[in-house]
């Protein structure tokens, strides 16, 4: 007969062993944080006392991660430099783990992110100038966004429903099961922000950044999620198996947008308020070190809808015949950090990439109590619109001469009329539209005015029914070339004739 106490002990040991084998340890948020760019974090104290890691659990984290302690960092830098909610970053100046075992303290430094490092500290790096310096060198970077995570290996993990972003890895070559003290020391790089990007993006503000000890499953999840990377500058992945060089050409620029505005009565002359639909968008191409395009992407926002017709807004990149690839389009509701239902939406393409970005705008985007959005004089509180982003990979690289010309082909399909509306010089492309059938293949009206026009983002939307020539008295002089000072006509609206649709309103 086995004594009851002994049996219970055996059972407890078996349960513990089973739980260890099953990876029962779950990612845990630490109590301490990184603040003002530096942190000294006690690894034995969790944000919730009951979850304080034990020395045995610390050793389990290390063992499961192949001899490394891996940390997740919640990047919280949206208000700093050129960062935004969708993409934020910091650079690591230095980081180490310090452990005390049997009265002896040992420090384990992060390996950094030099060329050829097999166990780089982070998954990304970039070339940066330190504050006060005008030479750049590689630093490990941590990139993220403001979104929360919904899928992890375990709902018991502190990563679950959190906003952790990127991982930081430090090799620790001793058994931690007997540690009496363990801490992570980390310092973010103070960059020379006067140089603009990339330094302005990878600077740090006051933070603070939460940190978690993570399991391999959660680390892998975050690494594959690659939050915020698509829109960060000069992202050089430290995984040697990836080929992109981090090179990007931006249209019109990294942080600015084209604003395209339409008159939707085509082929009838409109009222020239150019606000029937207004969209901000930008596009980038990713290049290899030979200058050939390997892919690209973009993003944009609905800015105003002053037309009663129902539209689909397309963004078409006229990639050459024979080109092909795949990607994904994501749509976000106004101020929403989570993708709309049904997104990300994967796509493939052969030849031109034609994305139907905003479908049925009349029902997609409304402002309570108003017929239109952000165009009516009486609508005092302007509202934010939907946001989209997309990214794609080409199956074969393209040389610069084969890349589509900016500002590309942003066009409307008007459900009420069956017509497409493109920028002047473009051609109708939809097989089922009326343009070709009715012989309307010019996108200028009888007076010569376009039905769609692209402006810099500082342009403000005219108030409903306001002729563009009233809202912007210099426009006509620009069009006719009769006034040399008219080139920035869009920066001189008449007070009260436009809505204050400055980028600060519609970028979010």
């Amino acid at each position: 007969m086995i004594p009851l106490k002994f049996a219970a002990s055996v059972l407890a040991a078996l349960l513990l062993l089973t739980s260890l084998e099953a990876g029962a340890v779950t990612s845990v948020r630490l109590r301490d944080v990184i603040s003002q760019g530096q942190g000294d974090l006690n690894l034995l104290q969790a944000s919730v006392r009951e979850r304080n890691p034990t020395p045995a659990q610390l050793e389990e984290f290390r063992t499961l991660n192949g001899g490394n302690l891996v940390f997740a960092v919640d990047i919280n830098e949206a208000a700093s430099g050129t960062e935004k909610s969708a993409s934020q970053g910091v650079a690591v100046d230095y980081a180490w783990v310090e452990v005390t075992i049997g009265g002896t303290t040992t420090r384990f430094d992060a390996l950094g992110c030099p060329d050829g490092e097999l166990s780089p500290t982070t998954k990304t790096r970039t070339a940066l100038a330190r504050a006060g310096e005008t030479s750049r060198s590689f630093y490990c970077t941590l990139i993220g966004d403001t979104g929360s995570r919904t899928v992890t290996s375990s709902s018991g993990s502190d990563i679950h429903l959190s906003s952790f972003d990127a991982t930081l890895r430090i090799p620790v070559s001793v058994n931690l099961s007997q540690v009496t003290a363990a801490r992570l020391v980390v310092r973010f790089l103070e960059t020379n922000g006067s140089l603009g990007d990339p330094e302005a993006f990878y600077d740090y503000s006051n933070g603070f950044e939460d940190v978690a000890l993570v399991t391999p499953e959660d680390a892998s999840y975050l690494d594959q999620l690659a939050a915020g990377r698509d829109e960060a500058p000069l992202v050089i992945e430290t995984d040697a198996s990836t080929t992109p060089s981090g090179s990007r050409i931006y249209y019109p620029s990294k942080d600015q947008f084209y604003v395209v505005a339409y008159e939707d009565q085509f082929p009838q002359r409109g009222d020239y308020d150019f606000n029937d639909l207004v969209v901000g968008f930008r596009v980038y191409f990713e290049l290899d070190s030979s200058g050939r395009a390997v892919g690209g992407g973009g993003e944009g926002y609905l800015i105003a809808r002053g037309g009663g017709f129902d539209h689909d807004w397309h963004l078409r990149l006229a990639l050459p015949p024979g080109s092909s690839g795949n990607g994904a389009l994501t749509l976000f509701g106004p101020d929403q950090l989570y993708a709309a239902s049904g997104y990300p939406r994967p796509f493939t393409f052969n030849g031109a990439l034609d994305l139907e970005v905003f479908s049925n705008t009349a029902t997609l985007w409304t402002a309570g109590g108003y017929q239109f959005v952000n165009t009516l004089r009486e609508q005092q509180d302007l509202v934010r619109g939907h946001r989209f982003s997309f990214a794609f990979r080409l199956d074969a690289t393209l040389d610069g001469a084969s890349m589509p010309a900016a500002p590309f082909d942003p066009y409307l399909y008007v459900h009420n009329t069956g017509y497409e509306i493109h920028l002047p010089g473009m051609r109708a492309v939809l097989a089922d539209s009326r343009n070709t059938r009715d012989g309307h293949d010019s996108f200028n009206d009888a007076a010569g005015y376009p039905f769609g026009m692209v402006m810099p983002e500082s342009w403000e939307v005219p108030v409903e029914f306001t002729d563009l020539g009233i809202a912007y008295p210099d426009f006509l002089a620009y069009v006719t070339g009769s006034a040399s000072q008219g080139v920035s006509w869009y920066d001189r609206p008449v007070s009260g004739r436009t809505k204050p649709t400055r980028p600060a309103l519609w970028k979010w």
Partner: protein
């Protein structure tokens, strides 16, 4: 209700107008050109015709003289930016070769700034300008 909705995009309304323009039917021809009204800045009172310019951006082919500079670093990068610091290109390029690319800038932009640099802290960033 439908009438009001379609009016917003309808032709000839003018500011504060409520002029109603029905949606075009398949047989509706495009509107005729307006008569020019001297002294008016309204689009509806003027007809620039085919000579009007509506492009507010210009495409420019620019070349960065990477080949004129030697670096200690193995990897060479270029940044091209507008005068107000807007980044048009940022990335790695082939060392020792001029780097050309097509950018778009607002009409009237006279010059762009560039930087050439390497990953080596021994190499100072080379700053330069490109006249357009």
């Amino acid at each position: 209700m439908l009438t009001v909705l379609t009016a917003c995009g309808g032709g000839g309304g003018g500011e504060g107008g409520g002029a109603v323009q029905p949606p075009p039917s398949p047989s509706t021809p495009a509107s005729p050109a307006p008569q020019t009204v001297p002294g008016s800045s309204l689009l509806k009172d003027n007809a620039p015709g085919a000579s009007g310019r509506y492009d507010n951006f210009a495409s420019e082919q620019v070349t960065v003289p990477v080949d004129r500079h030697a670096f200690s670093g193995r990897r060479v990068f270029v940044k091209v930016a507008s005068p107000d610091g807007q980044v048009l290109f940022l990335g790695e390029v082939a060392p020792a070769l001029p780097f050309s690319l097509q950018v778009q800038v607002p009409v009237g932009t006279a010059r762009l700034a560039y930087e050439i640099f390497s990953e080596s802290s021994l190499d100072q960033i080379v700053f330069g300008e490109i006249a357009l």
